[in-house]
Structure formats: structure tokens, C-alpha cells
């Protein structure tokens, strides 16, 4: 089947089997290697994308479920100012990651701050459980997301002035 959707702001189509995984389509048809397709059961968090504004594990989204939807991957998100808030905020907080889970942590943080600009530590930890990794220090991750929230809030405030 041919599925059409909006990918990182552009109208695209892919000729694919209805039962292909969205993560594989994004990687193999569109070269978006920031999306991994590892666990294929929605647990490891390496395939997180925004689907109609919601963070989902794309490895358990079949191609047909992407039809007509808007999808943003880490590559698309990386072009936003919010992305800079997150990467700089993590840097400001001095948080080191293993390098493999960065995209997942960024997407999870982005999704959280979209709906909850000032999340509590509990909300942060719950959200970042979508991006599990052996390198995660819970204290550092709370500090990092709070730094991001602070940074983002200042930027939006200045923009509003």
C-alpha cells in the first residue's frame, strides 16, 4: 500500500506493506537513522517519535496507523528552538549520558514540557521511564529537565515581551 503522511513538516508517501513497522519505514525509506528499531515491542524507547503531537514508540506503530498522521522524528525536532533548550539545558546541568539514549531522552523531555511546563520530580521520572537506559542517574535527570524547563520558560517569556 501507499501511505501518505506528514514527516518532519513535509508531505511524503511511502510504498510499503501495511504491516511494516513505522520505525523501519522511517529508517530505511527516509534515512532517518535517529529512530532505532531495536526491541520491536515498545519497551526500549529508542524509536520514540511524535505522532500527531503525542510521543509514541514507533516500532509498534504499523504503517497503516501512520496514514494521514503528522510525524516528527528527532531529526525534525532538532531544527526547533525547543531542541536547543533541551540540549543546552542538559549541558548546563552537567548531565552526561551514554550517547545512545540522547535522542530518546530529548524526545521524552520535549513531550513532557509541551504539556507540563514546570514538571514535578515525580512527573519527570515517570516521563523519562519511557526512555530507560543503564546510564540514567535519577537525580541528574530531574536536575537536567528542571534546567531545561527554566531555560525554556525564560525564552518564551522574552519572546512574549
Amino acid at each position: 500500500m501507499t501511505i501518505s503522511f506528514i514527516l518532519n513538516g513535509e508531505d511524503v508517501s511511502a510504498n510499503t506493506r501495511s504491516v511494516d513497522r513505522l520505525s523501519d519505514i522511517l529508517r530505511e525509506r527516509f534515512g532517518l537513522l535517529g529512530v532505532r528499531s531495536d526491541c520491536r515491542c515498545g519497551r526500549c524507547g529508542r524509536c520514540l517519535v511524535f505522532l500527531n503531537g503525542r510521543l509514541v514508540p514507533s516500532c509498534i506503530v504499523p504503517a497503516f496507523a501512520a496514514k494521514g498522521k503528522e510525524i516528527i522524528t528527532i531529526e525534525g525536532y532538532a531544527l526547533t528552538e525547543d531542541y536547543i533548550d533541551i540540549t543546552e539545558g542538559f549541558k548546563d546541568a552537567g548531565v552526561a549520558t551514554c550517547g545512545f539514549c540522547d535522542a530518546s531522552k530529548i524526545m521524552a523531555t520535549a513531550a513532557l514540557l509541551e504539556h507540563t511546563p514546570r514538571p514535578s520530580p515525580e512527573q519527570i521520572l515517570d516521563q523519562l521511564s519511557s526512555a530507560p537506559c543503564r546510564c540514567t542517574d535519577p537525580e541528574a535527570v530531574v536536575k537536567a529537565v528542571q534546567a531545561v524547563a527554566e531555560r525554556r520558560s525564560k525564552r518564551l517569556y522574552h519572546r512574549a515581551l
Binding site: R17, S18, V19, D20, R40, C41, G45, P57
Partner: protein, 275 residues
């Protein structure tokens, strides 16, 4: 891995028409249960799939005077976004504990209830709340209490044919409640289950009591509940022990570990009524 024929009905009427013509078709909304243990490169689905996630009639949720009404394709996240004012606290607490936030963005309320391999987290809470589910086919609609979605031997018995379209949760006030997940894992496994308890009192008398527990098997006894309703509150320690003991036999169908946990939870629930 072959491709599946996927039907994208534009409305409920069209969906029911497809269902009528292909009664055994796989109904797919969020797919989190269907796909959680596939793991291969392609997804293995039957030849025909009915995709209902985008049906407008299944995506609505809201409060009426007497009910909270939730469309079957509403996601768990969307359910939580209705807010604490709309959701009974035991429902929101349970929904918050389902999977990760990413999974909650895909998993639907209907999919959670209609799982055939085991009871997922929402069932025991909805059973406790005496929620109703609407099943529709071309012939019409039937409302069914979720407590009837259980076979005689305690296993899931979601009826074949028909489409789960709405869930109705009666709006009631509860004076005491308790929900607890057991099994040391956020992933469905033989040792995982959810316990749900709710109670209401009027003028110092227990007028409503609901206890449900479900994982691979479901437990609820309205007969035991009726036998306890009408007692004066607070319950005495002796009454708590006696009532907890009466549930022990009910737990005999469970594994030893789950049975112990169930009885401990029942005891804990009654202790809330002893305060």
C-alpha cells in the same frame, strides 16, 4: 511476511458494515496488546484488519450528569487528561500506572478492556465501579456490565462479534478506595494483577462495598459484598479479620503468591474501614 488488507472506515456505520461482512476481522485501535510480544521485523496480522482508532464516535469522552462516558478508542493518556475532577481517583491512579507514558499515548481504553489473553489494569477498577460497556453491531447496541466479561472459571470472556464503542462509568462518590498493582513488574506476567476496592458509607453505615482483583484470572464476589454491606462503621478488628478470612476461599483459584497478596490487600482494604 504478507501485507494485510486494512479497512479505514470513516465512521462507525461503515465500521459496523465491515464487521458485519467479516465477523472475524481483527479490530485494531492502539495495538499495544496485539503487538507487545511479536518482536519480528514485520508485524504478523491476519489477512483483514479493521482500523478503528480514528473513528470520531470512538474518540469522544466527557461527563454527563450521571456518567463519565469514554469512547473505546480514547487513549489512556487522553483519559488522564480529563482530569481529576472528571475521573474517579481509583481510575486515574490505575491509568497513571499503565506502562510508560509513551505506551499510554497509544494504548486505548477499549483495547485494555477487550484483551482476551488476560485482564489488563483497567478491568478490575471498572468492575469495581460497575462500569458498562457498549457493544454494537449492525443490529443495534447492547450495554453490558464489565463484570459480565468474565467466564465461569474466572478468565476473560469478551464476547465475539460486535465492536466495543463506549464505556460508561457511573459518577458516584466513594469514601474509601484502594488500588494496588502486584507483581513487581509494569509488564503483564502471570504474577502481575491489580487490586481495586471502593466503599461508601451513609450515616455511619456501609452502603456500598466493591472488591475486584484481576490478572490472568478475575475475582469478584457480589455475594460476599452484600453480606458485609449494612455494617456499622468503623468496623471492629474482629470484623476486619473475619471479612478478610471470608475472601480466602475465593482466592483458592489463584497461585499461592497471588492468593496471599489478594488476602493481604483485602485485609488492608477493610482496615481502611476500621479507621
Amino acid at each position: 511476511m504478507r501485507s494485510s488488507n486494512v479497512h479505514f472506515p470513516k465512521d462507525l456505520a461503515e465500521a459496523l458494515d465491515v464487521l458485519h461482512r467479516q465477523p472475524g476481522i481483527l479490530i485494531f485501535a492502539g495495538g499495544t496488546d496485539i503487538l507487545r510480544e511479536q518482536g519480528g521485523r514485520g508485524i504478523a496480522l491476519p489477512e483483514d484488519v479493521l482500523y478503528v482508532r480514528d473513528l470520531p464516535e470512538l474518540r469522544r469522552a466527557g461527563l454527563t450528569e450521571r456518567f463519565l462516558e469514554i469512547g473505546a478508542a480514547v487513549t489512556v493518556s487522553e483519559l488522564l487528561e480529563l482530569g481529576n475532577a472528571a475521573l474517579p481517583p481509583l481510575l486515574s491512579e490505575t491509568a497513571y500506572g499503565i506502562g510508560s507514558s509513551a505506551i499510554r499515548n497509544l494504548a486505548t481504553v477499549g483495547g485494555n478492556i477487550a484483551c482476551r489473553s488476560r485482564f489488563m489494569d483497567l478491568w478490575p477498577v471498572l468492575a469495581c465501579l460497575d462500569a458498562l460497556v457498549e457493544l454494537r453491531d449492525q443490529g443495534g447496541a447492547t450495554w453490558m456490565n464489565v463484570n459480565r466479561l468474565v467466564s465461569e472459571n474466572g478468565k476473560p470472556a469478551f464476547p465475539e462479534g460486535g465492536l466495543l464503542t463506549r464505556v460508561r462509568v457511573p459518577i458516584e462518590h466513594w469514601d474509601a478506595y484502594l488500588v494496588r498493582k502486584v507483581g513487581l513488574s509494569d509488564y503483564p506476567a502471570p504474577e502481575t494483577a491489580l487490586f481495586s476496592f471502593a466503599a461508601r458509607a451513609e450515616k455511619g453505615i456501609l452502603v456500598e462495598l466493591r472488591i475486584a482483583f484481576a490478572g490472568e484470572l478475575a475475582i469478584r464476589s457480589q455475594a460476599l459484598e452484600s453480606g458485609i454491606i449494612g455494617r456499622s462503621l468503623p468496623l471492629s478488628q474482629r470484623e476486619c479479620a473475619q471479612f478478610a478470612e471470608s475472601y480466602r476461599e475465593l482466592a483458592s483459584a489463584l497461585s499461592e503468591g497471588l492468593a496471599l497478596q489478594f488476602v493481604a490487600l483485602v485485609g488492608g482494604a477493610f482496615e481502611l474501614l476500621a479507621r
